[in-house]
């Protein structure tokens, strides 16, 4: 227990944020383990996400994951950044490349603007070699202080 | 080449009570999803969609026990072993297997499971045997799972057989 009487400033408070700050990345190695679990909760049992052969029939080298799961990863990234008192106001993402099996996907974000307690963020997911899979922007609100 | 898996510790463990798990209350949506999965792609019977009761094969522990306690003296590992028993805590050898397969199941049913039921699962050690197969010496494991409901009525008693090589 912290016995200090000084009011503590949340780690995610707006006063601690600067343009150019990098968000703590959110990283997952992706494979059937992740995708089938996601399908389980989203009823999203897509052959090309469950079966290499099905993906190859669609012209991909192997099975690939759901854009919806990348969307979730981006939200996980943002939630960790804003902390318990922040809010995600808006997220806008485009899916540019398939998330192929066995790729390690990292969701990144960079602070691009601060307006009052509203923070603009560029965000993206990338695979092991740096190719971007999903790119987008977000607006979040942070607690003042 | 393994000559035998069966040492005295393994042989003498038969009948040992290993763990007690208590489920969360069974939810209607869990019954519904179960039925949809096991009848898919055709529709599940309406009685399961309405969650009148759970299919006999329903697993009330599919998404984790609400509580778990080892019944093995000196075992404070708190390792939840859902499909089987905690062989490490029993002092069994740390076998390295290439494959572990579901060999079979034997189940005797009591009363049905309904929405809101809280199930207790007590697991115990069955018989461990071995035999030669096309993949070499195979260990045949048995774990016994006894489910009762909140009224202490028997729901089912299942013997699960595993094949490891």
């Amino acid at each position: 227990m912290n016995s200090s009487s000084a009011p503590s400033i949340p780690a995610s408070a707006i006063s601690r944020i600067q343009v150019g700050d990098q968000l703590q990345p959110f990283i997952r190695r992706t494979d059937f383990d992740n995708w089938n679990r996601y399908a389980a909760v989203n009823d999203e049992f897509l052959p090309h996400s469950m079966n290499d052969e099905a993906a190859r029939r669609e012209g991909f080298p192997k099975a690939f994951g759901m854009g919806n799961l990348q969307w979730s990863y981006v939200h996980s990234l943002l939630r960790a950044f804003i902390g318990p008192d922040g809010s995600i106001l808006r997220v806008d993402v485009q899916f540019r490349n398939p998330n192929l099996r066995e790729q390690t996907v990292t969701a990144h974000g960079t602070v691009t603007g601060i307006d009052g307690t509203t923070v603009s963020i560029d965000l993206w997911t990338q695979e092991d070699e740096g190719a971007r899979l999903a790119v987008g922007k977000a607006l979040v609100s942070l607690p003042s202080g | 080449m393994t000559e035998t898996y069966l040492n005295d510790t393994v042989i003498n463990a038969k009948g040992t009570l290993c763990s007690r798990s208590v489920s969360y209350p069974i939810e209607a949506s869990a019954i519904r999803k179960w039925a949809m999965a096991v009848y898919w792609p055709e529709p599940a019977p309406q009685k399961f969609m309405d969650a009148e009761y759970a299919p006999e094969d329903f697993d009330a522990f599919a998404w984790g026990p609400a509580s778990y306690a080892s019944l093995l003296p000196g075992d404070d590992s708190s390792v939840v072993v859902r499909h089987g028993i905690n062989e490490r805590a029993l002092g069994f050898p740390e076998w390295k297997f290439r494959a572990g397969l579901n060999g079979g199941m034997n189940c005797t049913y009591g009363v049905r499971m309904h929405v809101g039921d809280v199930i207790t699962d007590v697991k115990s050690v069955g018989e461990y045997t071995e035999r030669q197969g096309r993949n070499g010496l195979m260990l045949i494991t048995q774990s016994i799972s006894t489910w009762t409901n909140q009224r202490d009525e028997l729901v089912k008693r299942t013997i699960n057989t595993g094949i490891c090589y």
């Binding site: 494979d31 059937f32 383990d33 089938n36 679990r37 399908a39 389980a40 909760v41 049992f45 052959p47 469950m50 079966n51 290499d52 | 869990a30 999803k33 179960w34 949809m36 999965a37 096991v38 009848y39 898919w40 792609p41 019977p45 299919p55 006999e56 094969d57 697993d59 599919a62 998404w63 984790g64 290439r98 494959a99 397969l101 579901n102 060999g103 079979g104 199941m105 034997n106 189940c107 005797t108 049913y109 993949n135 013997i159 057989t161």
Partner: protein
């Protein structure tokens, strides 16, 4: 319905593959590589991914429930998993009455693939619904 020894039960049939197995994994939290990934199934010596014994178990229950009717009871069932249920197989659950003792009916039950090879043979005891 009058039941006699030798009666065959209406069958329960499903074409099996990832679509079934992953849905089953979804409700049983059974996300096991040998059931999701051909490479893992092959490493286990089965030529590719294969389905859960637990799902065959469910198919046998589906067949029995349908036959015994609303108030019937499945008293006991046992099966052995003899052959893997590999991708693309059509699995049929079957049963035949072997004995009748009062209101308890004994059955041989099994699942088989499309060429008749038994995957999971076993036996069951049931009571018919009134």
């Amino acid at each position: 319905m009058t039941v006699k020894v030798g009666d065959e039960l209406p069958t329960f049939t499903r074409e099996t593959g990832f679509a079934n197995w992953n849905r089953y994994a979804a409700v049983n939290d059974e996300f096991v590589p040998i059931h999701m990934d051909d490479a893992a199934g092959e490493a286990a010596g089965n030529g590719g991914a294969f389905g859960m014994g637990n799902l065959q178990w469910a198919y046998l229950h589906n067949m029995l429930r349908s036959w015994i009717g609303e108030n019937g009871e499945i008293l006991s069932i046992e099966v052995q998993f003899r052959s893997p249920n590999v991708k693309g197989q059509t699995v049929t659950a079957k049963g035949v009455v072997t004995a009748i003792d009062g209101d308890v009916i004994s059955l041989d039950v099994w699942t088989e693939q499309q060429e008749g090879t038994k995957l999971a043979p076993g036996s069951a005891k049931v009571k018919m619904g009134k």
